[in-house]
């Protein structure tokens, strides 16, 4: 598949602060690519350099073959973006904003369609300053898409949306991809990344620590699977230690058992239990999630939660 975005050894400093130490990844045409990482890990800096909003100190950047440093205007014509920390004039109305941003590419889809698509039909004449947080967020995403871009950059798109709004936004991101655009998604939400991203990169401290499909990233970090069930207190579960893949078996006083190990553990433990006449109704397997992998990857990062993105 053709490469939509290529970032090779990106470096960016703000004075003494290193925002991006060495960021490299490629995004294929037509995929949804996620950028994950704690605050200050360089995600926003990376997408700002890609849009030509900031000048990278070192490294090679390409967006559909164009260099955002030498041809920012060319890049921006291909990219629609929803930025963190951006706004519109308070008195600008929703309809006016969409019409204004649709002039970037004449002959594109009519901007009125975006109103309905993003549930802003009733707000057409509402001033930006009077919109709720969720409505603003929807308007920004609508503006990012109104000129039919080939690459859409969504930086914390669903922050500030309620759960229903997030589901709607997710469906729309998939609709955007199905229309043929490539999506670069910066997010803090692991469920969002797991649900939407074809591939993703995890950034820590200005460098990429993992890339791949969500499943690959999970598999690379978390090998252990947990199986839990409840049996009569005091039951002898020693036979489970000899089941292939099992590393440990714990049982508390209430009869609640927890088996950890690797491989197809649920099936094997279930088989062994049935063979020994035990049929717990609450037998469950817990596969590691992207969140587990993410926490393992970012465990050593000094950035504490809530710290602001460097330079944003």
């Amino acid at each position: 598949m053709a490469t939509a975005v290529s970032v090779q050894h990106l470096q960016k400093r703000y004075g003494p602060t290193v925002a991006a130490a060495d960021v490299s990844f490629d995004v294929s045409d037509g995929e949804i690519f996620g950028l994950l990482g704690p605050n200050g890990s360089g995600k926003t800096t990376t997408v700002e350099c890609l849009q030509g909003l900031r000048h990278a100190d070192e490294g090679r950047l390409e967006v559909f073959g164009l260099d955002p440093r030498t041809d920012p205007a060319g890049v921006r014509r291909l990219v629609g973006s929803q930025l963190q920390d951006s706004a519109l004039p308070d008195r600008l109305r929703v309809g006016e904003a969409l019409r204004l941003f649709s002039t970037i590419r004449p002959g594109g889809r009519p901007w009125e369609a975006a109103l309905e698509e993003w549930g802003l039909g009733d707000q057409r004449r509402t001033a930006f300053g009077d919109l709720s947080g969720g409505q603003r967020q929807r308007l920004f995403v609508a503006l990012a898409l109104v000129a039919d871009p080939r690459l859409v950059i969504l930086d914390e798109m669903t922050t500030g949306l309620d759960p229903a709004g997030r589901r709607v936004a997710w469906d729309l991101v998939e609709a955007v991809r199905d229309r043929g655009a490539t999506v670069l998604l910066v997010t803090h939400f692991m469920d969002e990344a797991q649900r939407l991203c074809d591939r993703l990169a995890v950034l820590v401290g200005g460098g990429v620590v993992a890339t791949g499909t969500p499943a690959e990233v999970v598999a690379s970090q978390c090998r252990s699977v947990v199986v839990t069930f409840t049996v009569a207190p005091g039951s002898d579960l020693g036979f489970l230690r000899s089941v292939a893949g099992v590393d440990a078996v714990e049982q508390d006083g209430g009869g609640r058992a927890r088996v950890t190990g690797a491989g197809p553990l649920l099936a094997r433990v279930g088989h062994a239990l049935v063979c020994h006449g035990l049929e717990p109704i609450d037998l469950r397997g817990e596969l590691p999630t992207l969140e587990d992998a993410y926490l393992a990857l970012t465990a050593g990062d000094p950035a504490s939660p809530g710290q602001e993105e460097a330079g944003a």
Partner: protein
């Protein structure tokens, strides 16, 4: 170009939604003109003040220039600094709508507002106080446009340099009062103490007024005023372009 037209239309609409700004820019000069003419209007031409011409004729061109200068140093920087602060400029830069179109739109809007103000002040002066009608219409229109565009570009530069809308507001109001008091729109410079008169001579609005006064009264073009205002325009345009090009944090 298409972007400039679209952004300008939008900005004009936004400006019309700010009644207080419109009031300040358009009504205040008329009120001051009314007060000053009430005080000095009846005086005949006196060779020792107002460059030897009638008070009304002196003040009319001073106020037309003052309106342009006020729009330039007050409304333009407050809007642009506010846009920067809130991230509106980032929003524009990230899209294919260039910040140059946004700044161009502000210059066009400021020039339009200054023109409305000039017409209002001019009409009030001529109709209510018997000021001379412009003797050289083309010269007056050209002088006004040069003056309005130059102050608007000065405002754009201030808007890109000042940290916040609040700072822009503070500086704008300060400049407005300095312009009123020392730029020819207040006491005539002949009665000001030496130091203050020299400060007045250093203010661009003084030259804006002189630029207009020549063709208005049929005295020809004041070349020094043309040079000062054109120089202001070129310097501010160059600095604005440099600022847009070099600072990627705007």
């Amino acid at each position: 170009m298409r972007a400039l037209v679209a952004v300008t239309a939008t900005e004009l609409r936004l400006f019309s939604r700010e009644p207080m700004t419109v009031l300040f820019v358009l009504v205040l000069p008329v009120v001051i003109l009314y007060v000053l003419n009430g005080v000095f209007g009846g005086q005949p031409a006196d060779p020792s003040v107002w460059e030897g011409i009638g008070a009304v004729d002196f003040y009319t061109s001073a106020y037309v220039a003052l309106v342009a200068a006020t729009v330039g140093v007050l409304t333009v920087p407050v809007h642009l600094a506010g846009y920067r602060e809130q991230g509106v400029l980032r929003r524009f830069r990230a899209s294919a709508l260039s910040p140059v179109a946004l700044i161009g739109a502000h210059v066009v809007v400021a020039t339009c507002v200054a023109t409305v103000g000039a017409v209002v002040v001019g009409c009030v002066s001529v109709v209510a106080y018997g000021a001379l009608t412009p003797q050289d219409w083309i010269g007056v229109v050209a002088a006004h446009l040069l003056c309005a565009v130059s102050f608007a570009v000065l405002g754009a530069l201030l808007g890109l340099v000042l940290p916040t809308a609040r700072a822009a507001q503070g500086l704008g109001v300060l400049l407005f009062f300095v312009f009123v008091m020392l730029g020819g729109a207040g006491p005539p410079s002949e009665v000001l103490p030496d130091t203050l008169a020299r400060v007045g001579d250093a203010l661009p609005v003084t030259y804006g007024a002189r630029l207009l006064r020549g063709p208005w009264l049929g005295n020809g073009v004041d070349l020094q005023a043309v040079a000062v205002i054109s120089g202001l325009l070129v310097a501010c345009a160059v600095l604005t372009a440099w600022r847009l090009r070099t600072d990627d944090r705007l």
